[in-house]
């Protein structure tokens, strides 16, 4: 009888082979595959750690002025706003100890932000400079929650009509849909064995690349997959990403970008990378990860190959196609910038 083979974790040995003559440095490296290759700048942020420290760098977005907005759970400055060259322009926010999800929405010409706070068990809508506009408490309207602590929102996505979708990624894995005023409409997903269910619904975005069929893409991180749903929550299909603990999907142009927190085979060992999918959901490039390979149209296990990143948590793509990578639990490092190499 032929026994099935599985990818196995092995014992990690000690550090070895340090007597090699010379090695190129981080900044000389070219990351990625195919038409998505980048040069890495780990010193993009010019912030002074003494005055503007970060803790976990969770998510980043670019506002309509072209500025890069970072969300960290460091309450000295929950939001740090940079220019694209990494110069710190301004900061705000001291009241978001569990700052996790950051989504920007252009509301009738005005930028607004949605912050998911894991510790406060709330979603907070603010102006771009931090004035609170709306607070969404735990969704008892769903009938699924009896107390706030069961609800640990990780991400929001805003539909073109202003509907707010909240992913309860560290709570009960429901996606809760509200109208633009914060009135409950619907909920779907949740934990369970069926394809429509989610396991660690860590991220969500609205995919409008096919204008006739906009849909939601939701992360099911422990399943190493994205799942697609209609805007009213009907499950469409699953996009398996074997080996990859994907964080939120980020769409820019034809491509979908996602930080991969860690490789499934090396959990808890700083084994993250960044993955990029084309509009047909085919992985075209992994930054710091294995070259994507399809066998019989099936994606092979993906994994970190070079330790550029520790635990990447989000990717922001700016108007010039540069990437910014925010990292969780990675020695309180500021975000890295990656510039495309054509």
């Amino acid at each position: 009888m032929q026994r099935r083979s599985f990818i196995r974790n092995s014992s990690l040995g000690t550090i070895g082979f340090l007597s090699q003559p010379s090695f190129p440095f981080l900044e000389d490296s070219l990351l990625g595959h195919n038409n998505k290759r980048y040069r890495l700048d780990t010193k993009w942020s010019k912030a002074d750690v003494a005055t503007n420290p970060v803790n976990d760098c969770h998510e980043m977005v670019q506002d309509s002025k072209g500025r890069i907005v970072l969300l960290t759970n460091e309450v000295k400055n929950n939001v740090i706003i940079y220019d694209k060259a990494g110069k710190l322009l301004t900061t705000w926010g001291h009241e978001y100890p569990g700052a996790h999800g950051l989504t920007l929405f252009n509301e009738n010409g005005t930028d607004v932000l949605f912050i998911c706070d894991n510790s406060r068990h709330q979603v907070i809508k603010t102006t771009i400079d931090g004035r609170v506009l709306l607070v969404l408490d735990y969704p008892k309207e769903t009938g699924q929650y009896t107390k706030a602590t069961e609800y640990v929102p990780t991400e929001t996505a805003i539909a073109p009509n202003g509907d707010i979708y909240v992913a309860d990624g560290y709570g009960k894995d429901f996606i809760i849909q509200y109208d633009s005023k914060g009135r409950y409409i619907n909920h779907f997903g949740g934990k369970g064995p069926e394809a429509k269910h989610l396991s660690n619904a860590h991220g969500i975005c609205v995919d409008q690349r096919d204008p006739l069929h906009p849909c939601l893409i939701v992360t099911s991180r422990q399943q190493n997959a994205f799942k697609r749903y209609t805007l009213n929550g009907v499950y469409i299909d699953t996009i398996p990403l074997p080996g990859a603990w994907v964080c939120r999907p980020v769409i820019k142009g034809d491509y979908l970008y996602a930080a991969v927190l860690q490789s499934n085979t090396l959990q808890g060992k700083q084994s993250g990378f960044v993955t990029i999918l084309d509009k047909n959901f085919k992985v075209v490039s992994n930054l710091g990860g294995s070259q994507p390979q399809y066998v019989d149209h099936k994606l092979e296990e993906m994994y970190q190959t070079a330790k550029y990143f520790q635990y990447p948590h989000d990717v922001c793509v700016d108007d010039e196609e540069n990437l910014y990578v925010a990292q969780w639990n990675s020695g309180k490092v500021y975000p890295y910038k990656l510039s495309p190499v054509i």
Partner: protein, 263 residues
């Protein structure tokens, strides 16, 4: 060891003075059905990084760039072969070394009875300890049987009486999850003439402070003389007093085992 440490310091200093860091490769992926095999184990290795190679050894030597380059799946048929693997490429620091020991089946086992394990780690049916499955670092894998008690007794019955010299037990060692080797392993054999269990072999273990990563620890106990028997009684004694340098305060450590072989 001291020299290696000095080289490490020198390299780190060099990086600090330049204010730059080199990039290390990650380990390769290993694919196989189990570390336990009947005739041979097939191992596939993967590392999809341009320009990089997988280097491996099977002879106990640490792999270097002079070691064998992996080209196609390998077959391992020698008992207790340790596969050691690293990746290396022209633009990177070589990876850490990963290692896995493969274990060949022993004398046929008819049945086995063991003390009641912890409810959460009951194993995978009555053949768990001789089904050639396991060797996984995940303590939640049903291939493991887990105990949180001081004394564990296991009775192994062979298919027929054979000359026996050694017993191998595969343990999990994972200090972070409070999983340790037993302090003492004692094996008795059934003497067919006296119908009594008599002392066969025993071995004791001490905690090694320098071990940090979880690993599978196949422990081979070899007796001075071969004995003809069809039954072995194995007793595992857990560590009674855990040292202060271990984090946390709990009453008992855990013992996890997934396979027993008799040779």
């Amino acid at each position: 060891m001291r020299t290696l440490f000095n080289i490490f310091i020198a390299l780190v200093s060099c990086q600090i003075c330049l204010g730059q860091k080199s990039v290390q490769l990650a380990p390769a992926l290993l694919k196989y059905s189990s570390v336990f095999f009947k005739d041979a184990a097939k191992v596939e290795m993967k590392f999809a990084q341009e320009g990089a190679n997988i280097y491996y050894t099977l002879d106990g030597q640490l792999p270097t760039e002079k070691s064998t380059i992996y080209k196609k799946p390998i077959r391992i048929n020698k008992n207790l072969t340790t596969l050691q693997v690293m990746t290396s490429g022209p633009s990177f620091l070589p990876s850490e070394i990963i290692s896995t020991t493969f274990i060949k089946d022993g004398l046929p086992i008819q049945s086995e009875q063991h003390s009641a394990p912890n409810e959460k780690y009951k194993g995978n049916g009555p053949n768990t300890l001789f089904d050639n499955e396991g060797g996984l670092l995940n303590m939640k894998s049903p291939t493991w049987i887990g105990y949180q008690q001081d004394t564990i007794e296991i009775l192994v019955e062979l298919k027929s009486a054979k000359k026996v010299q050694s017993v191998l037990i595969d343990f999990l060692q994972d200090y972070k999850n409070w999983v340790f080797l037993p302090q003492l392993i004692r094996v008795d054999y059934l003497n067919a003439d006296t119908k009594q269990f008599e002392s066969f072999v025993e071995s004791s273990f001490e905690l090694n402070k320098s071990i940090v990563a979880p690993e599978c620890r196949p422990i081979m106990l070899t007796a001075g003389n071969k004995m003809v028997t069809n039954q072995l009684k194995i007793k595992l004694y857990g560590i009674k007093n855990l040292p202060d340098w271990l984090p946390g305060k709990r009453r008992h450590g855990w013992i996890f085992l997934d396979e027993i072989k008799v040779y």
